[in-house]
């Protein structure tokens, strides 16, 4: 059981690092990728907290659809040229 505690700690550190990267990165595409990773780590944390239905919804919506919608919105707004 202590292994699951350590794993939860690692996943929460991953959520923290991904959220900080989504805030501080300059390229907007990289920030969108980091925001998708927050949903991924949160989904695994939901599985550890024994809520598989919430994890399934988070995997479908938070990590899959949100990234596509963000990129679609970014392609509509062209104010900074991509490299």
């Amino acid at each position: 059981m202590t292994m699951m505690t350590l794993l939860t700690l690692v996943l929460c550190i991953g959520i923290l690092i991904s959220a900080l990267l989504a805030t501080y990165l300059e390229r907007r595409v990289a920030a969108v990728i980091s925001a998708g990773l927050v949903g991924l780590f949160a989904s695994v944390t939901y599985v550890i907290l024994s809520a598989p239905d919430v994890a399934m919804t988070e995997a479908a919506i938070g990590s899959g659809i949100t990234t596509v919608i963000f990129l679609f919105a970014l392609s509509k707004t062209k104010e900074q040229p991509d490299e």
Binding site: I17, S18, I33, P52, A60, G64, F72
Partner: protein, 86 residues
Amino acid sequence: MAETILNLAVIIIMIAIGLGIYRLVRGPTVVDRVIALDLLTLIAIALITMIALVTSRFIYVDVALVYGLLSFLSVLAVARYLERGL
């Protein structure tokens, strides 16, 4: 014996998560971060399956199945955005 092997596998998966986060933080270009996203998705699928084995609740495998079906979508969207703009 089996519990020792499962704990060892969870430790190896945690090391893999650390390496993927390192590539995500250090990656100089966007392509490196896309590779890190794909790698961390694959590690998450393996980790959910491992949790289903450790806790002996096999409903968790369905979550890994949904993840495996949807994991290609975000990588494909980013690749298409970098080429032509979705």
